[in-house]
C-alpha cells in the first residue's frame, strides 16, 4: 500500500460502511415522511388533547418498563458476568431465551397461566394481566434479558486490574457499584435505549392486553380501511423528537466517559468478582424460570390440545427464509457496524450522524418503516430486490443497524483512545488500527452479530408487511397460523424458533469467538 493509498484507506472503508446504512435507512425515511407533503389535514390530529394524552401514556409505560428492566437487569447482568455459580451458562441461556421470541408469544403464554381460566388464574390475576400493570410486567419480562445481556457484555470488558484493585480496596460490592457499573455504563445506557424504544413501539402486546398506546394510533392509519400513509407519517413526527431525546439522554448518561478500561478478556479468563453463595443460584434459577415459564405454558397448552406433532406439516420453508434473511442482514450490520461503531465511539462525524438516522429508524413504528420500504423499493428497476428475500435484508438492516453499531461503539468506548493515537503516531494504517481497537473489545463483534441476528430473527412487525410472496419468515408464519391454527402448532413453531436462534447464535459465537492467536 502506498502512502497515498493508505491515506484514502480509512475514508473509503467508512464510506462503504456508510453506504450500507444510507441505502437501507434513508430511502424509506424519505419515502415515509415525503407522504406528509401533499396530504390533507395531516396535522389536524395534533390539535386534540386525546393524541397528546395517548403519547404521554405510551411514554410513561415505556419508561416504567425501562426503569424496571434496568433495576432488575443490571444486577442480574453483573451476577451472570462476574459471579461464579453452578450451571451459570445454562441459566444465562435460559434467561435470554425469551428475548428470542416476539413479545406477543410469551404474553400469550402468561395468558394461559394468569387468564381467568389459566393454570394459576382467576378474576383478579386476569384483571391485573389486562391492565397497564400487566402490560409493564409482560414487556419487562420479554425485554429484561436485553439489559442483562448488554450489562454482562459491558462487565466482561472491564480491565481486570482495575476491578481487582477496587475489590481489594473495598470488597466485591463496592467494586461492582463504583467500578463495574460505571465502566459498563455505555452498554447499560444502550440497553436502556433499546428497551425503551422496543417497549414504546410494541404493538402486538398492548393490542392483546387492550391497553391503548400511541403506535396503535399510527397503525390505525396503515392497517385500517382508509389507508393513509401521509397521516401515519405525520403522526410519527413526534417520534423524531423522541429519538433525539433518547440520544441526548444516553449521551448524558454514558457519553464521553473517560474511564480507561482495557478489556481484560472474556468469560472464564479471570477470577469471578463474587464468590459463590447459595442465594446466587436461587436468583439465577428465578431469572431463568421467569423467562421459561410463559414458553413452557405455551408448550403445555399446545400439547394438551394436540397438534405438536402437526408442526412439521405447517413449517414449510419458513426457517430457511428466516435464517437466510437474518444472517445476511446481521452480516451486513456487523460489517458496517464494526467500522461505524468505532467512528461513533471516537465521536467521528460520520458515525455520529449515521447513528442518529439509524436510531430514528429503530424508534419508528415498524409499520411506518415497512410502508416506506415498499414505496422506496417497489419499482420495476428494483423489483429484483423487492420481490426477493433481499427486501427482508434491507428491512432488517434499516430497522436494527443501530443495535450492531452501538454495541460495537459501547465496547470500543471502554477502551483507551491513547492506544489508537499511539498506533497512528507510529504510522499504522486504518485496518491495523481498526483491528487494534476491536481486538481490545473482543466481545464487541460477537455481541453485535448476536444482537443483530436475534432481533432480525424475532422481527415480526416489519417482516409481515414486506415478506416476498412464498418467502415468509418463521415469525410471520407463526402469526399467520395463530389465526385458528392448532394451538400445538403455534407452540411447537415458537419452540423451534428459539432452538434455531440458539443454534444460529452458537454458530456465530463459534465463528467469531476470540482466540489466543487473534
Amino acid at each position: 500500500m502506498t502512502a497515498a493509498g493508505g491515506r484514502w484507506q480509512g475514508p473509503s472503508v467508512v464510506a462503504g460502511a456508510a453506504a450500507v446504512i444510507l441505502i437501507t435507512v434513508v430511502p424509506p425515511l424519505i419515502a415515509t415522511f415525503g407522504q406528509v407533503i401533499g396530504a390533507e389535514d395531516v396535522l389536524a390530529p395534533f390539535a386534540t388533547a386525546q393524541l397528546w394524552l395517548l403519547l404521554a401514556r405510551s411514554l410513561a409505560l415505556a419508561a416504567a418498563v425501562t426503569a424496571l428492566s434496568l433495576v432488575v437487569g443490571v444486577p442480574l447482568g453483573i451476577l451472570f458476568a462476574r459471579a461464579h455459580l453452578p450451571l451459570q451458562r445454562l441459566l444465562f441461556a435460559a434467561h435470554l431465551s425469551i428475548l428470542f421470541l416476539p413479545p406477543f408469544l410469551p404474553t400469550l403464554g402468561w395468558f394461559h397461566v394468569f387468564g381467568r381460566d389459566g393454570y394459576l388464574g382467576g378474576p383478579l390475576s386476569a384483571a391485573i394481566l389486562f391492565s397497564d400493570v400487566g402490560l409493564v410486567l409482560a414487556l419487562t419480562n420479554a425485554l429484561l434479558p436485553a439489559v442483562t445481556a448488554l450489562t454482562a457484555i459491558g462487565a466482561r470488558g472491564i480491565d481486570a486490574s482495575l476491578e481487582e484493585a477496587a475489590r481489594v480496596a473495598g470488597g466485591p460490592w463496592r467494586a461492582a457499584a463504583f467500578v463495574v457499573v460505571p465502566t459498563a455504563a455505555p452498554a447499560i445506557a444502550l440497553a436502556g435505549v433499546i428497551v425503551f424504544a422496543l417497549a414504546f413501539s410494541e404493538l402486538g402486546v398492548p393490542m392483546f392486553l387492550r391497553v391503548d398506546v400511541y403506535p396503535e394510533l399510527v397503525f390505525s392509519r396503515l392497517g385500517g380501511m382508509d389507508f393513509a400513509p401521509g397521516e401515519a407519517a405525520a403522526l410519527a413526527l413526534p417520534l423524531v423528537v423522541l429519538a433525539a431525546a433518547l440520544l441526548w439522554i444516553e449521551q448524558r448518561l454514558a457519553g464521553g466517559r473517560a474511564i480507561a478500561a482495557l478489556g481484560g478478556g472474556g468469560l472464564g479468563v479471570r477470577a469471578p468478582l463474587f464468590a459463590f453463595r447459595p442465594w446466587m443460584l436461587g436468583v439465577g434459577l428465578v431469572a431463568a424460570s421467569i423467562s421459561l415459564a410463559p414458553i413452557a405454558a405455551l408448550l403445555v397448552h399446545g400439547a394438551e390440545r394436540g397438534g405438536l406433532l402437526e408442526a412439521a406439516r405447517w413449517i414449510g420453508a419458513a426457517p430457511v427464509n428466516s435464517l437466510l434473511a437474518s444472517s445476511l442482514a446481521a452480516t451486513f450490520m456487523v460489517m458496517a457496524g464494526a467500522i461505524l461503531g468505532v467512528s461513533l465511539a471516537r465521536q467521528g462525524i460520520v458515525g455520529v450522524w449515521l447513528d442518529r438516522i439509524a436510531v430514528l429508524a429503530f424508534v419508528l413504528p415498524a409499520a411506518i418503516l415497512g410502508v416506506g420500504i415498499a414505496y422506496a423499493w417497489n419499482r420495476p428497476a428494483t423489483n429484483w430486490l423487492y420481490a426477493s428475500v433481499l427486501v427482508l435484508v434491507v428491512a432488517y438492516v434499516a430497522r436494527y443497524s443501530a443495535l450492531a453499531t452501538r454495541t460495537v461503539a459501547a465496547a470500543v468506548a471502554q477502551t483507551p483512545r491513547s492506544l489508537d493515537d499511539a498506533a497512528r503516531t507510529v504510522g499504522a494504517g486504518y485496518f491495523d488500527r481498526l483491528r487494534l481497537q476491536l481486538g481490545m473489545a473482543p466481545q464487541a463483534l460477537i455481541g453485535a452479530f448476536a444482537l443483530a441476528l436475534v432481533f432480525s430473527l424475532r422481527d415480526l412487525e416489519t417482516a409481515v408487511l414486506l415478506y416476498p410472496p412464498g418467502g415468509e419468515p418463521l415469525t410471520a408464519r407463526i402469526f399467520t397460523l395463530e389465526a385458528n391454527g392448532p394451538a400445538g402448532v403455534v407452540s411447537a413453531l415458537a419452540a423451534l424458533h428459539m432452538l434455531i436462534t440458539f443454534m444460529a447464535v452458537g454458530l456465530a459465537w463459534f465463528a467469531l469467538r476470540p482466540r489466543a492467536s487473534a
Partner: protein, 338 residues
C-alpha cells in the same frame, strides 16, 4: 476485526446469491395475496399446485390486521403490482381495489353456479364459501335460558362489562359495522356503538381473540365469526353458537371473494387459480376444514354450520357496505380513542 472475522463475514455475504437463487421466479408461478386464514387457505393452494403444476407464492394476513393488512399492501404496491390474485375473506375489500382501478374483471366459467347476489356481473369480484357473524357464549357463565339472541344484547345493562367484540377498524367487524350503517342508517349505528362503549364491551384485537376470551371465560359472550366459533367447538370448549337476530333483521353473511388484479404478471396462471378457487371442490374443502357455508347448490353443508338457505340473512348491498365503511372511518377511530 482480524482476517478470519472478515473472511467469515464476507463468506456469509457472498453466500447471498446462492440463497437468492432459490427465490427466483418461474413462469409457472402465480402470486396470491389472501386474508383467508392461512390454516384454511394454504391447503387449498397446495391442492391447486398438485392439480395444475402451478406453484402458488402466497402472502397471508395476520389475525390482528385482517383483512386490511394485505389489502393495504396491495394498495401500497399499486405502482408496481406484485400480486396476481387477491382472495379476500369478505366481499367488501375488493371494492377498495375496484375504486382504485386495481382490479382486472374476469368472469370465470366456474362462477355460473354461484348465486347472483354474491358476485358482480362484470366479473370484478366473485363470492363463494361464506361465513356468518355469530354470538359465541360461554355456557359456564351464561345459563341456557339467558343465552343472547341478538347483537343488541351486547348493550344490555345486565351484561355490562361481560362482553367482547373485535376492533371495528379491522377485519370482519368493520364490515359488520358498515352493514349496520347501511341497514339501520348512520345515526342508529353510531348510537348502537356508543351504547356498546357505555356498557363496557371489551374491544379485542381480533375475532380470534374474542373466541379466546369467551372460551377462557374472560367474558360471558362475544361477537365473532362462524369459523372462529367452529374452532372453539372443535377444541371441545363449552360454548354456544347463536346466529343472531333471526326474528329481526337477520345475521350478516360474509362470502369470501376472489378478484384478479390489473397488471397481473402471470395472467394465465392467475385465471387458472381463480377458476380453481371458484370450483365446487374448493367450497367443499372450505366447508370441511373451515366450516364455511357453501353458496353453490349441491355442496354439502357441515353438520355444525347452518346452511345459508336456512338462515335469515341481513339484506345488504356489499358495494353500499363498502361505501359506509369508508365514510365511518373517522368516526370509528374517534369512537375507539384513536
Amino acid at each position: 476485526m482480524n482476517r478470519r472475522h472478515l473472511l467469515a463475514l464476507s463468506g456469509a455475504a457472498a453466500a447471498a446469491p446462492l440463497g437468492l437463487a432459490g427465490c427466483s421466479q418461474t413462469t409457472q408461478d402465480v402470486v396470491a395475496y389472501t386474508s383467508v386464514d392461512q390454516v384454511f387457505s394454504e391447503p387449498v393452494f397446495q391442492a391447486f399446485e398438485r392439480q395444475s403444476g402451478i406453484r402458488v407464492r402466497a402472502v397471508y394476513d395476520t389475525e390482528e390486521t385482517k383483512s386490511t393488512g394485505v389489502l393495504n399492501r396491495l394498495i401500497a404496491e399499486a405502482q408496481n403490482p406484485q400480486a396476481d390474485v387477491f382472495w379476500s375473506g369478505d366481499p367488501v375489500r375488493p371494492f377498495q381495489l375496484i375504486r382504485r382501478n386495481l382490479v382486472e374483471p374476469y368472469v370465470s366459467p366456474q362462477s355460473t353456479g354461484l348465486p347472483d347476489a354474491f358476485k358482480a356481473a362484470d366479473g370484478t369480484w366473485t363470492g363463494f364459501a361464506a361465513r356468518a357473524r355469530v354470538l359465541l357464549a360461554n355456557r359456564e357463565r351464561v345459563a341456557d335460558t339467558d343465552i343472547p339472541q341478538s347483537i343488541r344484547d351486547l348493550t344490555a345493562p345486565s351484561w355490562r362489562g361481560q362482553t367482547a367484540m373485535a376492533n371495528p377498524l379491522f377485519g370482519t367487524t368493520t364490515m359488520h359495522v358498515g352493514a349496520l350503517a347501511a341497514a339501520w342508517g348512520e345515526a342508529a349505528m353510531r348510537s348502537f356503538l356508543t351504547d356498546l362503549k357505555t356498557n363496557g364491551v371489551r374491544i379485542s384485537s381480533s375475532n380470534g381473540e374474542v373466541k379466546r376470551l369467551v372460551v377462557a371465560g374472560e367474558v360471558a359472550f362475544g361477537l365473532t365469526d362462524t369459523d372462529d366459533a367452529n374452532e372453539a367447538l372443535k377444541d371441545g370448549a363449552n360454548v354456544a353458537v347463536v346466529y343472531p337476530d333471526q326474528d329481526d333483521f337477520g345475521a350478516l353473511v360474509i362470502p369470501t371473494s376472489v378478484v384478479m388484479l390489473r397488471g397481473a404478471k402471470r395472467a394465465e396462471a392467475a385465471r387458472a387459480l381463480v377458476d380453481y378457487l371458484l370450483s365446487a371442490d374448493v367450497e367443499r374443502q372450505m366447508a370441511e376444514s373451515a366450516a364455511h357455508m357453501p353458496l353453490r347448490p349441491g355442496v354439502p353443508t357441515p353438520a355444525n354450520v347452518r346452511p345459508v338457505s336456512d338462515l335469515h340473512a341481513m339484506q345488504v348491498d356489499y358495494a353500499q357496505v363498502s361505501d359506509q365503511i369508508e365514510a365511518q372511518q373517522d368516526w370509528l377511530r374517534r369512537w375507539g380513542g384513536l
